[in-house]
Symmetry: C2
């Protein structure tokens, strides 16, 4: 469907004044709103006051706002966006040629910033609102380190404190990530630490443990709630994060409109959903309002198939059960993908917004296996130059598969996918692939049943 209205450059950079000045909130156009977060004790929807000890005020408002379609981006955030945005929408001419496909492939690349991923789009917003509220700082957890890096950069820019609890095994195995965060002035503590009640308890119970994301969340929340002037921030899953990430989709849409590109298929990888939710936002908006139709495909790892094999129920948002419950596609809060799985996207649940959209048949989902993901990553790197993050490579895999289908049918479909980031800090996974030592892993139905059994049945 691509037209030649205007010669399409290899990389489409918008002008600085074409960076969006408002975020788009898909919820405003959803007929079936995503279910609210509920308190696990009372089973009542969380209200502003319930969240206030944990989250920044303005972010809570955004979290609860199902009505406002466009929320203005504060000026200082717009200024920061100019440092690395607009990000390019790239016409993958070399990939098309290598595949010999009649399809037109484009990717929106979010890796051209030091955090190496799209996470910075929300980190800067969250740091800004914390600063505006007069807070001293924020706390968070990080696993692989992309979110922690992004938040460190954002806090450094607004000169507020940033305390990162990093899963101990990553802290030890990814010293580079740790040092990037420290260079931006963040304090990085291996979790479980001896600085918190919950950390000391976990260390006592499991001596020598290398930690987990659930545990790091618990520590970060404890530190935020027990220190004057601190709040806890999170890099994915939440409605507010998808809102901030809509900047990805709005730019993509603007670039498409400018050059007369009309996508047939939009593809994004899905872990907690922040990238996918951001990329598809304005396109889904058109779809929800009945103005246009697009095939939208979420791609998840076969080893962590929340959409495709999960249940759409209320479950805890975290393994440690310190967070509220969310209605979402979940594999059970206790589910942890096999250690064989190197490719990111390890979250057991999914954004409530995307869960609702999927439930309502407005998007598709599919799984891909790990070795096939790295095969696509390598093929992409060799012709398009960019070394993709394992997470992003799930979307590459699906885009290549769709383009190869077009080759069979001769259809000239236009495919856009989200290239969320670079893989520079993921070379251990690439090494395993290069050495032929990477395995696939698909959980059995029995394993999932065991994990599902731990989801509390609250009758909602």
């Amino acid at each position: 469907m691509a037209t030649d209205a205007k010669k399409i450059p290899y990389k489409i950079y918008l002008e600085e004044n074409e960076i969006p000045t408002s975020w788009y909130n898909m919820r405003a156009d959803m007929k079936n709103k995503p279910a609210p977060l509920i308190h696990p004790g009372t089973l009542q929807p969380l209200k502003f006051e319930d969240m206030q000890p944990i989250f920044c005020d303005e972010l809570i408002k955004q979290e609860l706002d199902d009505e406002t379609a466009y929320i203005p981006i504060p000026e200082p955030i717009q200024e920061f966006y100019k440092m690395y945005r607009p990000s390019p929408l790239t016409h993958a001419v070399f990939l098309e040629e290598a595949l010999g496909t009649p399809a037109h492939i484009y990717y929106k690349f979010e890796g051209n910033n030091t955090s190496g991923s799209h996470k910075l789009n929300s980190a800067i917003a969250q740091a800004y609102y914390a600063k505006e509220q007069g807070l001293k700082g924020v706390t968070t957890e990080t696993g692989a380190g992309q979110w922690g890096t992004a938040l460190s950069m954002a806090c450094s820019f607004f000169d507020i404190d940033c305390k990162v609890y990093m899963v101990k095994v990553s802290y030890e195995q990814k010293p580079f990530r740790r040092e990037v965060m420290r260079t931006y002035g963040a304090s990085v503590t291996p979790s479980p630490s001896m600085e918190t009640n919950i950390g000391r308890a976990i260390n006592a119970e499991h001596p020598g443990t290398t930690g987990s994301l659930g545990c790091a969340i618990s520590e970060a929340v404890e530190v935020a709630t027990s220190n004057e002037g601190y709040r806890y921030v999170l890099g994915s899953v939440l409605n507010q994060v998808l809102l901030h990430q809509s900047v990805i989709g709005l730019e993509t849409k603007a670039a498409c409109d400018k050059y007369g590109i009309k996508p047939d298929i939009i593809i994004g990888c899905a872990g907690g959903g922040s990238n996918l939710g951001g990329l598809i936002a304005p396109f889904m908006g058109e779809k929800l309002r009945g103005e246009a139709d697009y095939r939208i495909i979420a791609v998840e790892p076969a080893s962590c198939p929340s959409f495709t094999r999960g249940k759409f129920v209320y479950d805890f948002a975290d393994t440690g059960k310190v967070c509220p419950m969310a209605k979402m596609y979940t594999l059970g809060h206790d589910y942890i993908p096999s250690p064989n799985h190197a490719g990111g996207l390890r979250y057991h649940g999914m954004s409530s917004i995307l869960s609702q959209l999927y439930h309502d048949g407005l998007m598709e989902a599919r799984t891909v296996e790990q070795t096939k993901v790295f095969e696509a990553a390598e093929q992409f790197a060799r012709v398009e130059g960019i070394l993709p993050a394992p997470e992003s490579s799930h979307a590459i895999r699906a885009a290549i598969d769709e383009a190869l289908k077009c080759k069979e049918t001769g259809e000239e479909k236009t495919i856009i996918f989200g290239l969320t980031g670079t893989g520079y800090f993921d070379m251990t996974a690439y090494e395993a692939y290069n050495d032929g030592k990477m395995n696939d892993y698909i959980p059995t139905d029995e394993e999932l049943a065991e994990s599902f059994a731990k989801i509390p049945d609250i009758g909602l």
Copy 2:
């Protein structure tokens, strides 16, 4: 001198059709041409035939061409450039604000590609000419790994073989770099290896050695000359490399012209000189032709002060003495900076072109100390977002120093510096800085005298 002819965006991206279609050869406008490479045995200038067993034919022509001002960039190289060029010229508004300086600071950022630096500009040219000549592949050495990564990407794109000899200590300490190269299909061999005569000899003489760049060069040259269909390629120092890198300066000049920016000072870090020579090319051209004047500053580490404390004489281009001799500013081919020195730019010599220009008073040079470099790197990262390579941070240091002078004098000077790359693979050095464990090192006059004594006196 900046004018407000047109509102200057934070990042100035040129259009795709503004990427240069010719490289600019400074030598054509130099009254005093750089001295030719000579054969260490005969002391005669190397001719085309002398170089043919080692280098690709077309590259030798470029190496020897002192006359042609503009050399067309072949179409396939232009196509490749589109994948990551034009690179942005960024107005450092946040750095200016942090410094409180009336100066206008701009930087040309070359790190937005997977190799993480400007090296790709020449790698793609060299791989292309090897392919055009019908060669099977190329060999090279790499230390920190930027050049090896860039060459791997380029060879993968043109589907020719790439054999990288990586200094053993880097091979072991920088496994990520190694894996990036392997992902692009290069073979990466720790040097000294047991695959070459020279490697076996060195291993026999120095059991357990962790290698050196000089040794890796010797191995790469041996493999290129003893295998049918292979040639050796080099990522800096040579005239041909400066030629290819002129794309940096040409784009910078185009962006300046487009927005009415007239630099007073142009600053680049200098190791072998490829980045600096590329950045300044068209500006130096104007200066050589008497059309304009600019202050041009080369910045080098205090621990490896080729320009500022070296001798302008013929010396071996490599420690192993397998390469020809070049007339250049040199600390002596035996000089190796202290292991304390973490910040790149470790080459004992300097591009012959830049050496001649410096000798003729057409540019300045200064040294900066390591901890001051990392202090500047951190300050820059925190306000401008990008985590700079240690090499690039030498230029940042000098730019900040010049901007602070403007603050004292109230002058509104326009400063442009080259930000050659990102520091993602240099976090060990950042860690040392973050931990307060980084030391400065300045060679004593006695140490330099010892090293100078080993330069053969050939009376040229």
